[in-house]
Symmetry: C2
């Protein structure tokens, strides 16, 4: 006797599938905006460079979608992903480190889904804080714990310089953040199993691209 349908847990879904489902979700939002009502696994696959059978397999991890064999209903599939991946509830976000890149992210926050509202910015330098013109509340680094707790911020994007990241991450985690995107050029690892960290690095991406290009051209 096992749990069925809605109740089944996704905990044994492979992480790559979860990531693809998040990408699919973003694509479905676009389709919805364009007024497209139904979409096939192969269309999704083409758009995201994922084989159609992989799309179908990923979707099948979500459980029952109900019958409809002429492509997925954009709305239904989007709703299902949202529900099963717990993407419905809005989460407060903060930006830590307000150098050029940090400010850029802060200011482009309106491009994020409205589910991820930027609620605060932090920087080590009070002088710096004063020069930044924005309507968002800005605070010095040492107020992370107070503010993150008060505003129940759950996600953070960190763009400080190397020497500050670990400290900032520790403070964030202590204040109950559940996920961190680090964009500092160095990598940090999570000290706790219940806090997830993603490291992004433009240099790393540029390196991978040049390596791939160089290696693929090398083999004729």
């Amino acid at each position: 006797m096992e749990q069925e349908g809605l109740g089944r847990s996704l905990s044994r879904t492979p992480q790559p599938s979860i990531e693809r489902l998040c990408r699919i979700f973003g694509l479905l939002e676009e389709f919805e905006r364009e007024g497209i009502a139904a979409v096939s696994s192969s269309r999704i696959g083409k758009e995201l460079s994922i084989p159609a059978h992989t799309v179908r397999k990923d979707v099948s991890f979500l459980g029952e979608l109900g019958p409809s064999r002429l492509g997925y209903s954009v709305g239904k599939l989007k709703g299902l992903i949202q529900q099963r991946l717990k993407l419905e509830e809005p989460r407060g976000v903060c930006v830590v480190g307000l150098s050029e890149l940090g400010v850029g992210l802060l200011r482009s926050g309106h491009l994020l889904s409205e589910r991820y509202r930027i609620r605060a910015g932090f920087d080590a330098s009070v002088n710096r804080l004063e020069t930044i013109r924005t309507e968002l509340p800005l605070y010095p680094l040492h107020m992370i714990r107070e503010v993150v707790t008060r505003e129940s911020i759950e996600l953070a994007v960190v763009t400080t310089e190397r020497s500050w990241v670990r400290r900032a991450a520790a403070d964030l985690i202590e204040s109950g953040v559940i996920g961190i995107v680090s964009f500092c050029g160095c990598e940090i690892t999570s000290p706790r199993r219940d806090v997830w960290i993603t490291n992004l690095s433009l240099v790393k991406e540029l390196r991978v691209l040049s390596a791939l290009a160089a290696l693929s051209s090398e083999s004729h």
Copy 2:
């Protein structure tokens, strides 16, 4: 009779290994800066959350490192990765799309390795171009082909809004770019096998983080 040592091609190295090697390379640069001369596979692994044997396997794809059984020489390993992954030659970079995020990236370009120099910025709006204060040369979008060719720019970071990405990517590719990092919130795919594209999206990362957090807490 097969090719040996220096000559062996990396073309059958798994792509995940190539990516890890690029991350290892970044770490080694840090170690070098800190004056650390030797480092073990387990140290590297701990720093990057990669198992030590995977680090060793990845390194072994590079071929001969020469004998030294008490950890890797930071300098030698860095040199080897650089050479085998063709990371030595500097590559010109441009930023396409100068909204908040684009300007942030443009302005934080000095944080990139000096191998990746930003040589130009592009935006659709001439008005916008005029308001941006920078020493870097800025151009309207329609000059991509001319400028990219002239300056032999090989890599691009694109942060335009959705509707412009594909056009911009097409122009970039036509002008000989070998890799594109798209940071537009939507995904684009490469029309050519010899041009590599990486899609980055902050929203996607935030979604993955909340999904992982929600799912892992769900299973007690």
